[in-house]
Each structure stands twice: as structure tokens, then as C-alpha cells.
């Protein structure tokens, strides 16, 4: 049985061939970037420098120095959240957040460092007006996902940005589910920071992520260590990107990420979004026809669908989809407990079907047929 991968919200698969070539080349030709000054060291530094430029261009960052490479979106979010908040700050976030946002924020709340407001689900998503209503004089930061990893609901980030700008509140965007799929212009959105994974919509390898930080936002130090700059000093350099990039980086992974983002740039974000949107509507229409299927994803969404099928536990449905149809999905709570509480699927969870750039119309038909068949079996 051929495998059909529909777990792109977890990580994209398969990866484009261009990243394999770039990673192999980097593996063969990299010294420690920017440290030693010999040809292999310079090669590695150039690979990273080029990748930084490619990402800066992709997100329209004013300078590539404002882009730092991280391990993943979780790493980026922890750096941004913990580097931005000060004791006594009020922070606003949403019930749709992943634990990579919720856990750092709840840890800060629990330690008495911040006050936290969590916005509830309203008409399938979180509405911009809810942010406006929650802003207080002591609100310092809004942290929001661009789209839910559980139900695919999109938050109108342009409207949220206007609200934050008017109120003088910093906005941190979690673009883990949207980078590489929805257009993101960090200047137009006036983001204080943006966190993204390298291995999801950006099609890069696992173990890569990125964080954009606006030039006037001075993030607290995250980790201190070697940077290849001001080596005579025992203090971390204050300038970007060195400020946030201590230690030998994942040069091989970053080579892959640079290559995948270049590949996406060549295709163009509008073409990617159009293709994804067409497949999303095809899948939505198909899922709505299946008897006994509950669809939790709202009508305006990314290609991320949470479902339950009558007669199946969410894990059981994932197992049946793989064993009987070769279709790979994700069951359970998807690391977003508040989102599941909001849609009434806590603790049983949902089966999540998520499409990606490599998904085809025929594959979408295949998963719809498989679910129809499973639905017939239990009815």
C-alpha cells in the first residue's frame, strides 16, 4: 500500500530535492561558520549569511540582521516571550495557541511575573475586536497565532496589528502554521517579532526555525556564548544577530532551510496560497458530505482539519486510516489543550488531517473516499 502523507501541520514531507543537495554540499564543505577565517569556515558563514538574506526577503524584513536562526518555532517563541516581557506586564493571548506559547506564558503567570488574558473562541476563531476590548493601560504584549494548528482557523492579523499599533502594544506573531503558506510582511504588520518553524510550510529540515525581531525591540539575552565577535569580552555582544545566536549553529539545517525558502520564493507565495486554498476547499466539501463525521474546522481556514468520526476514537481513526488506507494523520490533543476545550474535544481529542504544498487533488479525493468507507463500516 502506498503511503499518503497528510500530517503537514506537524512537519512537511517529503522535502524538495533542492534542500537535500544544499544540505549535502554544506555537510561536505563547512567548517565552523565565522570563527576561524579559513576557507571552510568562510563557506559555512556564507551559507548562513545567504540563508538569512533569503528569509529576510521572503518576509520583507528591513535588514537580514534582524533574522536569527533557532531550533524551531518553540525556541523562537520562548526567546521572544521571555525576552520581551517585564515583571508586572499584562499580556494578551488566545485559546487557539499551541503549548509553545501557552507554557511560557503560564509559567510566567504562575511565577507572578505577568498578568495574562486568554481570549475565547468566537464564531470559529478569535475576532480582532476581542483583542481591542482586552487591551488595558498596562498591556505590553499581544501574542497570537496566525492560524490554529488544531482547527486551521485564521486570525485576522492585519486587523489585530492595527489595534495593537493604535494602542502602542507590541505584537508577537506565531507563524508556525502559516509561514510559507500565507503571505507575511513583517513591516506591513509592524510586528515586534515573528516566530516560525523551518520544517513546516517553509519545507526546510527539522531542527530549524527563525525569529524576526524589529530593530527597536531589544530582546533580553537568551543564551550567552561564543559568537566569533568581540572575543576579548566576557559579555554577550549586544548587536544582532550575534546577540541571540551564541554557539555553533545548525549550518547543515540552515543550508537546507535557505534552499527551501529560495525554492518557495521562486514559486511565489500567492501561487502557493492559491493551490493550498483550492485543495482546502475540495477537502472541506468532501468532509462535509461524510455521514457521522464532525468537522471542527471553521469555514475560513488553512488546510488543517480536525474531525471525529462516529464509532471511532480519534487515535483509532488515525490507526484505521493508516492500516487500511495508508493515510498518515495525527490523533489526540495536538499540544493545544485550550483549543480542544474551546471546541469541546477535551480530553478525547480529534483526528487531524493537514495538507501541504506537495498534496494533490487526487490525494484529497483518496482521503475523502477512505473516510466514506470507514463511515460506512460503522453505520
Amino acid at each position: 500500500m502506498e503511503q499518503l502523507y497528510l500530517d503537514h501541520a506537524a512537519t512537511s514531507w517529503p522535502k524538495p530535492n533542492v534542500i537535500k543537495e544544499a544540505m549535502m554540499l554544506a555537510l561536505e564543505q563547512s567548517g565552523n561558520p565565522g570563527r576561524s577565517g579559513h576557507s571552510l569556515s568562510l563557506n559555512a558563514a556564507r551559507i548562513i549569511h545567504q540563508a538569512r538574506h533569503t528569509l529576510a526577503q521572503f518576509f520583507n524584513a528591513p535588514s537580514s540582521a534582524q533574522i536569527v536562526f533557532t531550533l524551531n518555532a518553540t525556541d523562537s517563541l520562548n526567546m521572544a516571550i521571555k525576552g520581551m516581557v517585564k515583571p508586572g506586564d499584562h499580556v494578551i493571548t488566545t485559546c487557539l495557541e499551541h503549548n509553545s506559547v501557552l507554557r511560557p506564558l503560564y509559567a510566567l503567570k504562575n511565577a507572578g511575573q505577568i498578568e495574562l488574558t486568554v481570549l475565547e473562541l468566537q464564531d470559529g476563531t478569535v475576532q480582532p475586536e476581542q483583542f481591542a476590548a482586552a487591551i488595558r493601560p498596562d498591556t505590553a504584549l499581544v501574542v497570537t497565532t496566525h492560524a490554529s494548528n488544531v482547527i486551521g482557523a485564521i486570525i485576522d492579523i492585519a486587523a489585530v496589528s492595527r489595534i495593537c499599533q493604535k494602542a502602542g502594544v507590541k505584537l508577537l506573531l506565531d507563524a508556525a502554521q502559516t509561514a510559507g503558506v500565507l503571505p507575511i510582511d513583517v513591516q506591513e504588520l509592524n510586528l515586534a517579532a515573528m516566530a516560525c518553524a523551518g520544517h513546516k510550510g517553509l519545507l526546510g529540515p527539522q531542527g530549524t526555525g527563525a525569529l524576526y525581531v524589529r530593530a527597536d525591540v531589544e530582546l533580553g539575552f537568551w543564551r550567552e556564548g561564543g559568537t566569533g565577535s568581540i572575543s576579548h569580552e566576557v559579555y554577550q555582544p549586544p548587536f544582532m544577530p550575534d546577540r541571540l545566536e551564541a554557539g555553533t549553529p545548525n549550518t547543515i539545517g540552515i543550508a537546507g532551510l535557505g534552499a527551501s525558502v529560495k525554492y518557495l520564493s521562486e514559486i511565489g507565495i500567492d501561487a502557493i496560497r492559491q493551490k493550498e486554498a483550492a485543495l482546502t476547499e475540495q477537502l472541506r466539501a468532501g468532509l462535509k458530505r461524510i455521514p457521522g463525521l464532525t468537522l471542527y474546522t471553521p469555514d475560513i481556514s488553512m488546510g488543517v482539519f480536525s474531525i471525529n468520526l462516529e464509532g471511532f476514537d480519534s487515535a483509532g481513526l488515525s490507526v484505521a486510516l493508516e492500516r487500511e488506507h495508508g493515510i498518515l494523520t495525527r490523533p489526540g490533543l495536538h499540544c493545544a489543550p485550550l483549543a480542544h476545550k474551546a471546541i469541546g474535544t477535551y480530553p478525547q481529542g480529534t483526528t487531524r488531517i493537514s495538507i501541504g504544498y506537495s498534496t494533490t487533488e487526487a490525494e484529497v479525493e483518496q482521503v475523502i473516499k477512505a473516510l466514506e468507507e470507514l463511515s460506512r463500516q460503522v453505520r
Binding site: 561558520p33 568562510l42 558563514a45 568581540i230 550575534d242
Partner: protein
């Protein structure tokens, strides 16, 4: 007399700016090789650009035109 005597080095505040400068200088047709900073010069970054003495003024102009920060220029290099 060794050819090194015709060379200057330009230092930068960080690796980032050294690689930004390399790209701009190469695109502008200058000869420019990145190398470790000679120990006799002080620099906040371990990598510097080795350039021809005759090009130095034009190179510093080019860097300024592109808004690229450099730290200092030293030379001519004496020996290896």
C-alpha cells in the same frame, strides 16, 4: 619586498557586517578576500577583508554608500 605590503585590511564590528561587505565589494568589482584579523590590530570581529591598498579609498566610499558599517582600516600589511 613582499606583495603583502600592497594590502590593507578593513575590520568590522561583527561577522555579519564582514559578509555583507564581501558581497557588496565583490558585486562592485573589487578584489576582496576575507581572512582572520592580524593579531596586531584590534577588532571586535575575528574576520576582516583584505583589499588592495590602491582600492582602499574607493572601497570605504562604496561601503559607506551601501550603509555598511566598518570598524577601521589598517595597513599596509607588513609581512605575513
Amino acid at each position: 619586498m613582499t606583495p603583502e605590503l600592497d594590502l590593507y585590511i578593513v575590520t568590522f564590528h561583527s561577522t555579519y557586517w564582514a559578509f555583507e561587505a564581501e558581497q557588496v565589494l565583490k558585486d562592485s568589482g573589487f578584489q576582496c578576500r576575507l581572512r582572520p584579523v592580524p593579531r596586531e590590530y584590534s577588532s571586535s570581529c575575528g574576520i576582516c577583508a583584505e583589499v588592495k591598498a590602491a582600492d582602499l579609498a574607493a572601497i570605504l566610499d562604496t561601503l559607506e554608500q551601501h550603509g555598511l558599517e566598518h570598524d577601521a582600516a589598517y595597513g599596509p600589511l607588513k609581512g605575513r
